[in-house]
């Protein structure tokens, strides 16, 4: 299916939980990136009733940038990231969906690169990668890097997915492809992102990668505990045995 570029619309799904510091900044950067390239876009903010009143910030942004660019789809409580994406897709009017974190780890400047890459060969998915070319991460100490490198090596060895960054969550999907994958995938957290790529490969969807620089969150709390490592290992085993 060759798409008519002028008719393309990009729906950014922005799940937020306690991101009142980051949200205005990420939205400003998004608007700037989209306007600079004259892309059609909407930013769907899915806030789970954050105690820090992120929603109040979101409403201000909506009145600033307009209801067709900033769409608010709040939910009554913290229901998790996976369901936030499902909730977001339901309301998306674009033919492409961009998923990214609202904590400024993912810079909107890469979105025009994602779009250009997608149009090269009409890819179904374009995934940001920290592990190729100019990609990388800021704010990681040696142990964080070691964990990340080891986790990635294990996943590459066991799953052979033909994609360098399985756990990243900065990606562009064709809407129907994302909807289809969301039906298939059962995992949560990092493993969910990994399962999306693995299942995409099994279903024959095409995928390209764009190197991204990941900047660890400045505002708000970061967590990578022992529990996450265990969950990751379990998820990896699950995918090894089931895909």
């Amino acid at each position: 299916m060759a798409t008519n570029a002028a008719a393309d619309k990009y729906s950014v799904l922005l799940p937020t939980y306690n991101e009142r510091e980051n949200l205005p900044l990420i939205v400003w950067l998004l608007v700037r990136a989209f306007e600079a390239h004259k892309f059609n876009y909407e930013i769907i903010i899915i806030d789970d009733n954050s105690p820090d009143q992120t929603i109040e910030v979101a409403k201000q942004l909506q009145s600033l940038y307009g209801e067709h660019h900033i769409v608010l789809r709040p939910r009554p409580g913290k229901l998790g990231l996976g369901t936030a994406y499902i909730h977001g897709i339901k309301h998306a009017t674009g033919n492409f969906i961009i998923i990214m974190d609202a904590d400024m780890s993912h810079h909107p400047k890469f979105i025009p690169q994602f779009i250009a890459k997608q149009r090269e060969k009409d890819y179904d998915i374009v995934s940001g990668t920290r592990y190729m070319g100019d990609g990388g991460a800021f704010g990681w100490d040696v142990s964080r890097k070691l964990i990340s490198r080891t986790a990635n090596y294990l996943a590459q060895t066991l799953l052979r997915p033909n994609a360098s960054d399985l756990t990243g969550s900065f990606r562009l999907y064709k809407k129907e492809v994302l909807a289809r994958l969301m039906e298939e995938c059962v995992s949560k957290g990092y493993v969910f992102q990994m399962e999306m790529i693995v299942r995409a490969r099994l279903l024959g969807f095409t995928l390209a990668e764009v190197p991204i620089s990941f900047v660890d969150r400045v505002y708000g709390e970061s967590k990578l505990g022992g529990m996450e490592v265990v969950t990751y290992a379990e998820g990896l085993m699950y995918l090894f045995a089931n895909t």
Binding site: L25, W28, Q60, A137, K145, R149, S213, F240, T243
Partner: protein, 95 residues
């Protein structure tokens, strides 16, 4: 399609079977290895394991050492945060 576990089991099983045949000297006479090769056959699984571990450590170590720290990206972002704050404030946004 076979799962990754099934694929692994298949390949592992096949290689193990071939190794066992040579270990027990059950192969056709034409394939009889020289005495020097025969000697190392019992140690092959161990050699393979060590080689795999060494390769893994090297691969992870190399990528750890060459990991891109993205310092410029962080600095650029800090500049942009200032721009964004100034512009948003000018437009009447209350942080």
């Amino acid at each position: 399609m076979a799962t990754k576990l099934q694929q692994f089991t298949l390949v592992f099983g096949f290689v193990s079977a071939v190794w066992t045949v040579f270990l027990l000297n059950l192969q056709p006479a034409a394939l009889k290895p020289s005495p020097a090769v025969s000697q190392i056959i019992p140690a092959l699984p161990f050699v393979a394991l060590v080689a795999f571990c060494a390769y893994s450590l090297m691969a992870i170590g190399y990528r750890l050492a060459t990991f891109n720290d993205c310092n410029e990206a962080s600095q650029e972002l800090q500049q942009e945060v200032k721009l964004a704050r100034a512009d948003l404030s000018a437009k009447g946004f209350k942080f």
